[in-house]
Symmetry: C2
Subunit: 318 residues, 2 copies
């Protein structure tokens, strides 16, 4: 046996793989479209079905994602797969509409300083832009998701004032945006902060469907997932191999690794439909393509029941 | 604010720092006694008080701990500090008695194969040896703790048969050994396995006081702590800087890092009495002495509220 049976059938977890976008955007090396598709197909074979694929941003701003339209066009047709992409403005939304994405993600920071640094405008101006995009996409069949960066703390401002996230979620709800990623942009989430943020949203924007997106910058990503699950949150984003990084902590890791998330969920009794072995292989492939070590403990160590011959390895005392 | 206030005052957590023993024993470099004392004093200044300091094993078997007697003698007198050491046999116990340790730790594996590889005898023979040691130390004032290696799975045998751990805990209890480390020797613990193992012990050895000792080999150490806390376990062991490693997973990390454990506990509302900043400094010192990068995310990234100037750093999108 690998785990005790759960007390009752747990809720279905909705997983979105963000490695190709949030992961590759923050890696030193730029992958070719061909290599991105190789990873995508590997992830799909492993059982993943929802992918945040790219961003329709300026190729000058994010060279790693300059092939957005080409990548989406080449990815389409993968069985049962759903693709989303970030769009920063109306022009990006129109590019996404043209190429036929399933969902666009509109991003704003919870902190004014971070939003200014990230998109050079105020939070109010970001939300006004969202209204235009929502109107433009109305009737197109494209879903609209929001993403709040620095939702668990800002590297410039520190902890957010109480009520800030709840208010932002409420305002996004007024625009018709209920699917809402809470991004732990620089790895400041802790279980206590997760409880506070999720609680604020439940109170001020009860129609919102929170999606938790943790970075493992300070090692707490899976502890935060445990907290999210205990609060009833069933939507998570992660990146195979822990792709990505944090510009404020050059030696630290990036996104929560999808393989570690799947490992935890399966051990907690959730049936994710994803093959952990296959996922670890894709993490290894991504690391080779990026010419670095895999960014997750699990990808380096292998699955727990990969057994060893007693005469072939050193032993560990204690 | 750094976290929500807890709903009620949480239980007091008993922390034992094992970096000087379980950490250094599995590092490639051997530290001098002087450098070990430097780390010990730093850990004590940070607020830690319980230390597993060394092992009274053969210097040939574990050269890194060859200075056991000298280290204990030099460590004694540190205010309020309590020192334990592993002893493999009666001779080791007598050496520990002579130098005046506060507590000895007797270790046995839950798996026959691992016990044979580790100490070259059967589990029965190990327990018979414990009986002799307990008798020898009776009346000495030295406390006796048990440590069950491979308590959450064995790298040779896989998952343990149901009831194995509970039976071992019961037999140790019959010897008068109730303080019981459950060692995740090669990082096979998951929340489900933690529940099963702790449950077995509560059922078959209700007087036992379990001490959870996780390795972060596959990234789940803090998720396992969350599970332990939810089960009411209040005793944990960890190693500053995530010192140590796993002979079965050369690229993976070692022990749960004390700084990440303290970070999680403080954020959950526990008052550990330990300075996180000071602990991160000691983790950095240990890494420099061992000439490698710190083995914890937190030590690499720094505390969450170390803020940045908006004009001085790159930004992170999404």
């Amino acid at each position: 046996m690998t785990s005790s049976p759960p007390q009752r059938a747990p809720a279905r977890i909705e997983l979105t793989e963000v490695g190709l976008r949030d992961g590759l955007q923050n890696e030193a090396r730029v992958l070719s479209t061909e290599h991105k598709l190789e990873l995508l197909h590997g992830l799909h074979r492993a059982g993943l079905r929802r992918f945040e694929l790219t961003s329709f941003v300026s190729p000058r701003a994010v060279p790693a994602l300059a092939d957005a339209a080409e990548l989406v066009a080449a990815a389409k047709g993968l069985a049962d797969a759903r693709f989303s992409a970030l769009v920063p403005n109306l022009r990006g939304a129109e590019r996404a509409l043209e190429v036929g994405i399933d969902r666009v993600v509109l991003f704003v920071s919870a902190s004014e300083t971070h939003n200014a640094r990230n998109v050079n405008r105020s939070i109010d101006a970001s939300l006004a832009g969202f209204a235009d995009i929502v109107e433009r996409l109305s009737g197109s069949g494209i879903e609209v998701q929001g993403a709040i960066a620095t939702a668990f703390g800002c590297p410039f401002e520190g902890d957010l004032p109480a009520g800030r996230i709840g208010e932002l979620a409420r305002r996004l709800g007024e625009l018709g945006i209920d699917d809402l990623t809470l991004g732990d942009t620089t790895g400041m989430a802790t279980p206590a902060v997760v409880s506070r943020v999720v609680g604020e949203i439940a109170e001020q924007a009860p129609a919102a469907r929170p999606i938790l997106h943790f970075h493992n910058t300070r090692g707490l990503a899976l502890a935060n997932v445990m907290q999210g699950l205990s609060l009833g949150v069933t939507r998570y984003e992660s990146a195979v191999g822990g792709l990505g990084g944090c510009p404020f902590a050059p030696g630290a890791s990036g996104n929560l690794a999808t393989e570690e998330l799947i490992y935890l969920l399966e051990e907690l009794g959730y049936d994710t439909g994803v093959s952990l072995e296959s996922l670890i292989e894709v993490a290894g492939l991504a690391a080779r393509r990026l010419e670095r070590a895999p960014g997750s403990q699990l990808a380096r160590a292998g699955t727990r029941l990969r057994l060893h011959r007693p005469d072939a390895v050193p032993t560990a005392k204690g």
